[in-house]
Symmetry: C2
Subunit: 356 residues, 2 copies
DNA sequence: GCGCAGCCTGCAAGCGCTTGCAGTCGGCTT
DNA sequence: AAGCCGACTGCAAGCGCTTGCAGGCTGCGC
């Protein structure tokens, strides 16, 4: 199969390549009869336009990109600390891009090398979604002036770019209120994430608001900190177990911390949620299946990804709007780890009526 | 910032664009002094070659693509049946591609529309990794003659393409043997996946081998079937609970089935693994955190993705080799759901020595 | 019957970079 | 000193498609 170009199609349909091009792009100004001939030729030949040539001529890639942080140590195959969060966002974004005919490129960043990576990907896409903390500020800035960028969950730092985030503060407030009001716990502490994470800060702020609203003194900073990973949870657990007295409930900065923490508490003989209640944030899949099922705050991860792509497309459409910031709602998901009854934690369809 | 082309760099360095091009590609035949000047100009200007033009001229994309099945119903936001498997493979492949300077494109397929999708992505990449069952055979065939394809876990159907898969049969045999020999269970059954899945078939074959080797009659087909999803597990559970007698152990086709199944059994009052032991396959992250932690067979998912990319690159390098099939080893991961003691199921670092 | 607005068409000029090829030059071999 | 060779250089021809523009036709108003 030798190369099949627009010339071949034009010859076959007995028209000029201009007309073929116009038909293929759905542009007006081509007589119906001729349009038919072109379409027929395209079908017979199985012609697919060369995206490279098309892109070069129109200076459009037809590709949306997404940059996410790869927190794993690339030298190990452990892989278990994966940010499931990114995977969900990626899926949502991919779907949104595909639905509008764009191809979807992803690139993970791992600490250094961000500059090169940003250049590589920057020149290949029409627009870029950048997940929080996957790129250093200067790299991001350089990238942003080459191509439209939408920042996801980044605590609005870069100027001139659109932002999308989840309502971290509201979610943290809701889960803390649940602990405080529904359960009536008194001694509730916050086990935070990295200091430089805007998400972590916003969640802590929500926690403080709830505590203050309950008429209690709100701490100035998280009682403990740890990475947004299971290892971070282990670290937090160690810190807490070292104390003279255990808190009644712990609001963790995210699900991974909560899971690692809960596992260690249980292993140390502390009943969860009996003695210490634990809540998470994100609602990753593990949260639902963990033991006990984790009470957490759901972030609409796929939707976040999809909204980022949507904003990008709007900007590409050219409406030269000023930077926008969109905040998607989060929802409290009550399961067991807060002390609530297990009811419905794990769906049990038609398991009833067992005839044994 | 107006557009910056190779001409600008050439002028700045006072050379021809040919030389700039050669320097940028690291080709020989450019005097050292001149090479320096070019590099300096590139750095000062912050020049980044236009990938579209480069691609058009050299007919190379610099992009590796991956097509995976999106089993979710795109109209819901549920997202919980996600194939974690794909996510891991994607990460592994992305990393391998990035490490060799290639950009990485992903595209999900969802039932129909595969043809269009295949065309879209086929024209944008230098090589493609296709996960099992994401594309119909004819679409795959068409795609394969446009661009090099490596099939992952597809039970070698397409001719002329490379294949990579995990040792499904060996893994299933190992886990079944564990149940049969270590635990001495007699009544062990296989709860399979979809009939058309090569993976499911290979696993069942391994199961049969082990059963036969233990001197027991091997069934001709799986005792029950279900999708490779949690819902499939629920279905399997319902089937099994409907029987007059429960089996002593169930070898599930994959982790999701095992998890859904185990949850329903437990909800129906059947002790797992006390009354019925359950094992999975894949070793997705959920398997480790589930309750009880799932004994399963580990597939090197990231490595599978990475190997696919590696094969693709070798083929692109031009060694015109005949199609190869690579099988990566799987490993038995013993946790609790088979009846083994919990020891080490959840790592408990420094949780000891609690001073309370 | 004539003029003009529209609608179609195809021409041709790029888009920015790669690469085969011919030409230039200094240095060495005879 | 003439001839050659090899290392460099830059020219120019694409790669395949988009698109502004000018020209040709048709139909309608006057």
């Amino acid at each position: 199969m030798q190369k099949l170009t627009i010339y071949e199609v034009a010859r076959r349909a007995d028209v000029s390549i201009s007309s073929v091009s116009r038909v293929l792009q759905g542009k007006p100004g081509v007589a119906p009869a001729k349009r038919e001939r072109v379409l027929a030729a395209v079908a017979e030949l199985g012609y697919v336009p060369n995206v490279l040539a098309r892109g070069l001529a129109s200076s459009r890639h037809g590709v949306i990109g997404l940059v996410f942080p790869d927190l794993d140590d690339p030298t190990t195959e452990s892989g278990h600390e994966t940010l499931l969060y990114s995977d969900e966002v990626i899926r949502g974004a991919e779907r949104a891009a595909r639905a509008t005919g764009y191809a979807f490129l992803i690139m993970a960043t791992h600490g250094s090398g961000g500059r090169e990576i940003a250049r590589t990907v920057g020149g290949r896409v029409d627009g870029l979604v950048v997940l929080a903390r996957s790129l250093a500020d200067p790299d991001l800035a350089e990238l942003a002036q080459r191509v439209p960028v939408v920042l996801l969950a980044a605590g609005r730092r870069a100027r001139g770019t659109d932002h999308v985030s989840a309502d971290n503060e509201g979610g943290a407030r809701a889960v803390t209120e649940h602990l405080l009001e529904t359960h009536g716990y008194r001694d509730v502490i916050f086990a935070g994430g990295p200091t430089d994470s805007p998400d972590a800060r916003a969640r802590f702020a929500g926690f403080r608001t709830a505590v203050a609203a309950a008429g209690m003194p709100a701490p100035a900073r998280p009682a403990v900190r740890g990475d947004f990973s299971e290892a971070g949870g282990h670290h937090v657990a160690a810190e807490i177990l070292r104390r003279p007295a255990l808190p009644r409930a712990i609001v963790a900065g995210n699900d991974q911390i909560a899971l690692g923490l809960a596992a260690d508490l249980a292993a140390a003989g502390v009943a969860v949620p009996g003695e210490v209640a634990v809540t998470g944030f994100d609602d990753i899949q593990l949260a639902r299946l963990a033991s006990p099922p984790l009470t957490t705050v759901h972030q609409p991860m796929r939707e976040l990804g999809a909204r980022c792509v949507a904003l990008l497309l709007e900007r590409l459409a050219g409406d030269e709007a000023r930077p926008r910031a969109e905040v998607l709602p989060t929802t409290l998901v009550v399961r067991v780890s807060c002390g609530c009854p297990a009811e419905g934690a794990i769906p049990v369809p038609q398991a009833a009526g067992r005839p044994l």
